[in-house]
């Protein structure tokens, strides 16, 4: 049982790490601000969820798990809000999304 928990949380942590890393590559390599925002916010949600779930499995039924669950809930609420506010601020100041595909350089 303990071994199974370890294996599952290992998988969750590694997958979460992979998502987080993909988000990092996305924020660096995507061409415009809105695409970068997309890469960052989507992978943020998934990576956060997986990593914190993996830690939760290790913590077991303790106060720490409750706190981790609270962190997950608050991050799921505030992350998209921050993305919304940021996209709005960018749009307000006149950075337009690029709707056509660009010729590869």
């Amino acid at each position: 049982m303990a071994l199974l928990l370890d294996v599952v949380s290992w998988i969750l942590l590694s997958a979460g790490g992979a998502f987080v890393f993909i988000g990092g590559v996305g924020i660096l390599r995507m061409p415009t601000i809105y695409t970068r925002m997309h890469a960052a916010s989507v992978t943020d949600t998934m990576g956060t969820l997986l990593i914190l779930l993996g830690i939760m499995l290790q913590a077991g039924l303790t106060l720490a798990t409750v706190k981790l669950a609270a962190i997950v809930v608050f991050l799921l609420l505030t992350g998209p809000t921050a993305s919304y506010a940021l996209a709005n601020a960018a749009l307000l100041s006149g950075v337009r999304p690029e709707l056509t595909t660009r010729e590869p350089d």
Binding site: L77, T78, P80, T81, Y84, A85, N88
Partner: protein
Amino acid sequence: MLLLFGIFLLTLLVITAVAIVRATDLFVAVMLMGIFSLLMAANFFILDAADVALTEAAIGAGISTVLLLGALALVPNRERVQHTGRWAALAVVSVTTLIIVYATLDKPRLGDPNAPVHTHVAPWYLEFTPEFIDIPNVVTAVLGAYRAYDTFGEVIVVLTAGIGVLFLLGLPNGPPHTAEDSSRTRTQNLGHHLIPQVVGRLIIPFIVLFALYVQFHGEYGPGGGFQAGAIFAAAVILYALIEGEDAALKILSPSLLKALMAGGALLYGATGLVTMLLGGNFLDYSVLADDAVAGQQWGIIIIELGVGVCVAGVLLTIYHAFAARND
């Protein structure tokens, strides 16, 4: 392994600091200060200073950015590029850096248990706190009881800074704006942005609750008055951002804020006077209860409350002072 993580984070810290100094757009510099603060908090945590990391988190994760942006809205955002004296300054700085690095070669290595700093008073604190004060968090014990004079001084400095900002900028006086100003207010806040408003309203109670937890759990885990005051101030600032200045000032009016500022410091000082009246020394809490240990615990809880109220009052006063200038 954790040592390597620390080195990695410290390197990022240096890179960010260089970028802050090089940025010509002050808005960019303020944003980079956000990253700088996050890195500092992570480093503090890796260096086993949970309380300090929590303080940096509470201050850096909202309040410092908000205050800097509040000031930046009142001054030009762009730094004028000038080149006079750059090389002289660079030379001075480089030479001094080398001298300090040379001086550090004699410092004890990181984590050396025989370093002089660990052999003087710290072992005494760690050994006798369970006996004299009996709370798990030694940092809170040192802050509230052993070095209470020191902390009182710091609270007075915070209060003085708040009074100074009041003298320089002032708070809006009189009743908050009414109907004829409401059109102006609507464009000032984020009220027409539905998502931040809904999420903000949902999350503000939790932030206040968490501030209370940090305030009263500070004897058992990381936390205390300084952190709780900052977190509470962050909650009210969030309210002001989504509902508008006037709504926030209606709840915590300028006169109430001034009362909180002074009252928190006064509570701290009054505790000291009470202990003197009861026959002890200034801020020697042993006389507050029949049992000396229980008295110490009561004293710490009371002065932490005073610290929290004072810090929250000062930070909110400063925020409102900058926001009021923005009209």
